[in-house]
Symmetry: C2
C-alpha cells in the first residue's frame, strides 16, 4: 500500500478500492520492522546525537508552521463534517501558540538528563567475573492516541530521548496534522545523522491499524495507549504486547479526624474542581465520622459554589441536605465531571479499606495533622501515588519534576505512576571475564 492509499482511506471502514484491507496489517508490520531496524542504530547513538535530533525537530516545527496549520485545517474541516463536539474540535486544533509549545517541549526534553548508558550497578565475583547492569532502550514503543495531534511530538520526542524507535497511531481525525508533525521529527533525526525510520506514523484512518499494532509482538516492545476508557479497554483486551496505561483514576481525598478544616476544604475543592476531566481529579471524598458534622457543611459550601454535585451515603446525607443519594456504583465511578461521592468512614483504617476496595490504584491523599495516621495511610493504600496534605491533581510528570511523561501507569509491572524517559528503558547485564568457565 502506498502512503497515498493509506491517507485516503475512510474513517469507519476498510481500505477502499484496489488495496485489500489485509494490507493494513502488512503495512503496520512493515513500518514496525523498519522502526525496529532503525532503532538499533538509535540505540547505539550518543545522547548528544539524540538531543540534536530533538532540537533540530523543534526548529523544523517552527519553520513549517504555515504547513502545519494548513494540514491541521484539513483535519478540522473533516472533524466538523464528522460532527465532532466543540471540545473535540478544540483538542484537534493547532494554533501558532500550540505549535510553539510543541517545539519548546522537544527542547525541554532534549535538556533532560540522558537515561541511556547509565551503569545501574556494578560488582565483581570471587571468580574474577565483572558484572554491570547497564540501562538500555526498550526498543520500539507503540503509541495509540486520540485527537490531540501534539501528542505526536510529546510522546515521539520522549521515545527518541530514551533511545527508542516509535510507531505512532493518532486519532483518525488528526491524520494530516499528526503525519506532518511526524515528518518534522523525522527531518530532525536525519539532520542529526540518524535514521528517520526511527519514527513511524501510521497514516490511515482504518481502525484495523490499531489491531495490527496490538498483534505486532516481536516488533513492538511496549504499547502505550492514551485516550478514553473505551480505547484503553480495547487495547487491554486485544494486545499481545505489554501495555503501560491507566484505565481510570478513581482518586480519593480522606479527611481525617485530625485534619485542619481550611486545608481539608481547599484540598478537596482543588482536587475535585481545578480540572474535572483529568485522571488525577478526585472522585470520592471520605471523611472521618468524628469531624464529619463539623467540617462537611463547609466543604459542601465550597464545592457547591463551584457547581459540584454531591452524592453521599446515608450518614453524609444526614449531615447536609445538599448531598444527594449515592448508590453502590458511585464508589466505583470515575465521573470526570463536576460530581463527587461522599462517604463517612470510621478512621484511617476504614478509609484505607474503602480505597483499596474501590480505588483504581492511581492517586489518593490524606488530610491530617496526625503524622501516625498519615504514615498508616501512605503505607497501606496500595496506589501508585499516595499523598499527605496535598491535592491529587499533582499527579502529573511535570509536577513531579520529571519534565515530561508519556502517561501515568496504574500497573505494578515495570513502570508505576508518571512515566518519564527513564521508565522507557530496560537494562542488560554485561559480564566481563578472562576466560572463566563454570565449574
Amino acid at each position: 500500500m502506498t502512503a497515498a492509499a493509506l491517507e485516503e482511506t475512510d474513517v469507519a471502514g476498510a481500505v477502499p478500492g484496489d488495496v485489500p484491507s489485509g494490507d493494513v496489517a502488512g503495512e503496520v508490520r512493515r513500518l514496525a520492522l523498519s522502526a525496529k531496524e532503525a532503532g538499533r542504530v538509535l540505540a547505539r547513538a550518543s545522547g548528544d546525537a539524540r538531543n540534536t535530533a530533538l532540537r533540530e525537530a523543534a526548529g523544523v516545527i517552527r519553520a513549517r508552521e504555515a504547513e502545519l496549520l494548513a494540514a491541521n485545517a484539513k483535519d478540522v474541516a473533516f472533524g466538523r463534517e464528522k460532527g465532532l463536539s466543540a471540545a473535540m474540535i478544540d483538542r484537534l486544533t493547532l494554533t501558532p501558540d500550540r505549535i510553539e509549545a510543541m517545539a519548546r517541549g522537544l527542547e525541554d526534553v532534549a535538556a533532560l538528563p540522558d537515561p541511556i548508558g547509565t551503569v545501574l550497578a556494578e560488582w565483581d565475583r570471587p571468580n574474577g567475573l565483572k558484572f554491570q547492569r547497564v540501562r538500555v532502550p526498550l526498543g520500539v514503543i507503540g503509541i495509540i492516541y486520540e485527537s490531540r495531534p501534539n501528542v505526536t511530538a510529546d510522546a515521539g520526542g520522549l521515545c527518541l530521548k530514551s533511545g527508542n524507535a516509535a510507531v505512532l497511531r493518532g486519532g483518525s481525525e488528526s491524520v494530516h496534522s499528526s503525519g506532518m508533525i511526524g515528518d518534522c521529527l523525522r527531518q530532525g533525526l536525519v539532520a542529526a545523522g540518524l535514521p528517520g525510520d526511527c519514527l513511524q506514523i501510521i497514516r490511515t484512518r482504518d481502525r484495523a491499524a490499531v489491531g495490527a499494532m496490538l498483534q505486532a509482538s516481536g516488533l513492538i516492545d511496549i504499547i502505550v495507549p492514551r485516550g478514553g476508557r473505551s480505547l484503553i479497554e480495547r487495547v487491554m483486551a486485544d494486545s499481545r504486547i505489554p501495555i503501560i496505561a491507566h484505565l481510570e483514576g478513581i482518586c480519593h481525598i480522606y479527611v481525617d479526624r485530625a485534619a485542619d478544616p481550611d486545608m481539608a476544604r481547599e484540598i478537596t475543592v482543588n482536587a475535585k474542581m481545578r480540572r474535572t476531566g483529568i485522571c488525577g481529579a478526585a472522585e470520592t471524598l471520605l471523611i472521618d465520622k468524628t469531624v464529619a458534622a463539623a467540617q462537611l457543611p463547609g466543604i459542601v459550601d465550597a464545592l457547591a459554589e463551584k457547581g459540584c454535585e454531591l452524592r453521599g451515603d446515608a450518614a453524609a446525607q444526614g449531615i447536609d441536605a445538599r448531598i444527594g443519594a449515592a448508590n453502590e456504583a458511585d464508589w466505583d465511578t470515575e465521573y470526570l465531571d463536576a460530581i463527587i461521592s461522599v462517604k463517612v468512614v470510621d478512621g484511617v483504617d476504614d478509609a484505607v479499606a474503602h480505597i483499596n476496595r474501590h480505588g483504581s490504584e492511581h492517586t489518593d491523599s490524606i488530610v491530617t495533622d496526625d503524622l501516625n495516621a498519615a504514615e498508616t495511610f501512605l503505607a497501606d493504600v496500595d496506589s501508585a501515588i499516595v499523598m499527605h496534605n496535598a491535592s491529587t491533581q499533582f499527579a502529573d510528570g511535570g509536577e513531579f519534576g520529571m519534565g515530561a511523561e508519556i502517561g501515568i501507569s496504574t500497573g505494578k509491572l515495570h513502570a508505576r505512576g508518571p512515566v518519564g524517559a527513564e521508565k522507557l528503558t530496560t537494562y542488560k547485564y554485561v559480564v566481563r571475564g578472562a576466560g572463566q568457565v563454570r565449574p
Copy 2:
C-alpha cells in the same frame, strides 16, 4: 471444594464425583483472594518478621523430614505408575540431602538484604512538596512449575522474602510433596506471627487450575512459569496477567579473529557440554572466517571427545569433516542436548547480526583479546546477558551473586536476566505536603 476433593482428582481429567469441575476455577480464585488479603499484612510486616518466617520454615522442614519423605514416596509411586522417565523420577524424588538443601536455601534467602522499604529516590519541588519513590512488594505472585517439588520452597521463599504472597501450582506428579512443603512454609509464617494464607498451594492435579490462575487478573499480579517450552508457550498464549519467563535460551559463543585459541576451546566446551539441558547452555558456535581453519579443528576435537554432535554451514563443513550439515532451522533451535550448530561469520558485526536475528535474547558471549570488538559485541547484542571471555553457563542468579533467583527473564519489561528478590517488587510514590493545591 474441600482440600481432600482437590487432592483426589485425577491427572488428566476434571474433578471427579460430586464436585463440578467449574469449582476448580472458583477454588483457585478463593485461594488467590485469601493470598491477596493476607499479603496486605505481609507487605506491612518488618523484614525481621519475614526473615523469621523463613528461618522457622527451615526448621519445620528439617523437623518434618520423615513426613516429607513419606509424602514424596506417594508421588514417586504415582509417577512410576504413570510411566515417568528415570530422569523425571529423579527430579521428582526428595532425599534427606535435598530436604536439607531446601532448608538451607530458605536460611540463605533470609540472610539476603531486605529489598522492601528502600527509598529509591527522594527530592523536593519548589512548591515544598516532598517526593519519595519507595520499594514495595508486587502483591501476589503466581508460580506454575513442573516436577521438582523443591521449587515450592525456593520460589515460595523468595516471594515471602520480598513481601509477596504466593499462589503455587506444582507439577501434577508432585502434589503431595509440594503440598507438604507448602504446609511447612505456612507453619513458618504462623510461627513468625504472620498469616499462613500468604502462601497458597493449589493441591489438585486438574489442569484447569492453571487456566484459572492465568485468568485471575486483579488477584494475581504476576505469573512466573517454570518448566519446559510447552508450559511456557501455553502460559504466554493464555495469560491475562503479565509473565516473567524465558521461552528458550538459544545462546551463542562467538570466537572472534582475536580470540585466544585455548580460551575459545575451553569456553566453547564448557558453554555447550558442562550441562546441556540448562537454558544457559550454548546452542550455536559462531567463528570468524579468518581463524576458522586454524581454530575450528581443535574445538571440534574437544567437543567430539565429550560426545557432542556438530552441525555446520558449508564453510564449517569444508574445514572439518566431522561437522555434519546444518539446515536453516538449526540456527533457531534450542537443542538442550549434546548437539551444537556451527557457522563461519565475517567479523563481529556479522556475528551480532546473526545473534540478533536467531538468538532468544538470553545470553551470548564473545571470546576475543580485542577490546574494541568486545565492546561492539557487548553494546550491540540485544540480549539480557552479554559476556566477554566467559562461559554462557554463568547465566544463573547464584553465579551473579544474587543468592537466589525465581528464574531468568528474556522479556524487556520489569525484569530482565536472572530475577532475584529485588525484582519481585514495584514502587510507589509517596508525596508529603503542607496543604499544597495545584494552581
